[in-house]
């Protein structure tokens, strides 16, 4: 899958982020620490899967041909996925899941806020719906990181570890490349470089309230958008795509 139209490529990034993170969160179902949280995580997961369906469906419409959201979800291999490395990282403990979610939600809310102004009505429409969902996701992940950071000695330690260890995956979110630059020039999107500063500022406020230490500037891992993923994505896809791979086009 090479030389995609820039809009299609951008939509795949959006859709794949939601799809992969949604799948990760669904792994908690039946395993969350309390029933309330089990349902809460499932709700966020389903919101993200719905968004993935919208973005990937639109990518298929724009590309033409017979590709739909299911095609993109079930018929591509890891190298063709365009999600950020952050969202494919394993759930780890509850603190790690929540820190990953906070990093993502903070970015996601700002991105969608910009996309609501997109001249393409289809993009603006999906973004407007997703924005409301993402605002709630952020409220949840923010609250949890504050509670866990400012909680017991153990929850503080685990949360700080997650903050530090996931940090190297955040730089990629704000990476601009020729595809985003082209779309920003056309006025389709707001360049993501501009939201990096606000993201850091808001994160610093949340971490301070959580009595957590802001991570040290570090080398950042990149590559997800070009299809260069961590080993975790292959295992995730093996589970997610099993049915389609074992019984192509199965129906019931």
């Amino acid at each position: 899958m090479t030389a995609n139209d820039p809009t299609v490529e951008f939509l795949l990034r959006l859709g794949d982020n939601c799809l992969i993170l949604g799948h990760r969160l669904s792994e908690w179902v039946g395993h969350a620490p309390v029933l309330e949280e089990d349902l809460g995580l499932a709700n966020v997961s389903l919101d993200l899967l719905g968004q993935a369906q919208n973005w990937l469906g639109l990518a298929g419409d724009i590309q033409g041909g017979d590709r739909d959201a299911d095609w993109f979800a079930y018929r591509r291999d890891a190298g063709e996925f365009r999600n950020a490395l952050l969202v494919e990282q394993p759930n780890g403990d509850f603190a790690r899941t929540m820190v990953r979610q906070l990093y993502f939600d903070l970015w996601h809310v700002m991105l969608l806020e910009g996309l609501e102004q997109a001249p393409d009505e289809r993009i603006a429409g999906i973004a407007a719906k997703a924005y409301k969902e993402a605002r709630y996701h952020l409220e949840r992940s923010r609250d949890w990181v504050i509670r866990l950071g400012d909680g017991t000695e153990e929850s503080h330690r685990r949360t700080q570890e997650a903050v530090d260890e996931l940090w190297i995956f955040t730089g990629e979110l704000f990476e601009s490349d020729e595809i985003e630059a082209a779309l920003a020039d056309q006025g389709v999107i707001v360049g993501s470089g501009r939201i990096a500063a606000v993201w850091k500022e808001r994160l610093a406020g949340i971490l301070a309230e959580a009595t957590l230490t802001f991570p040290q500037e570090n080398w950042m891992r990149r590559g997800g958008r070009r299809g260069i993923h961590s080993e975790h994505l292959g295992y995730l896809l093996a589970e997610m795509q099993f049915l389609q791979r074992a019984y192509p086009d199965a129906r019931w």
Partner: protein, 93 residues
């Protein structure tokens, strides 16, 4: 997480006139109680408003007092307004 206090949840539905008790859940504080109630009890568009009350703040009548509390009302049919015609314009009573 088992030591989180219990909350009673009341939801007002789209067309409902009053909040109705829907169940209970655990949460560490009021904000989390509202969020959890949203996630547990409004997944299918059930509500437009949520109340959460700490279960310990609810004062309940004792089951043993059922007789003295409620039986005296049994024999007083004249308290039921079934002897009046209510005009349609009055709407909900």
């Amino acid at each position: 997480m088992n030591e989180m206090p219990l909350w009673e949840i009341f939801i007002r539905s789209q067309h409902g006139l009053a909040h109705k008790h829907v169940g209970s859940l655990h949460a560490s504080d009021a904000e989390m109680a509202i969020n959890n109630a949203r996630d547990v009890y409004t997944r299918r568009n059930e509500g437009v408003s949520i109340w959460a009350v700490r279960s310990t703040d609810i004062v309940a009548s004792a089951p043993g007092d059922k007789g003295p509390l409620f039986e005296p009302a049994n024999s007083k049919a004249y308290r039921h307004p079934t002897f009046y015609d209510i005009p349609d314009e009055v709407g909900h009573m």
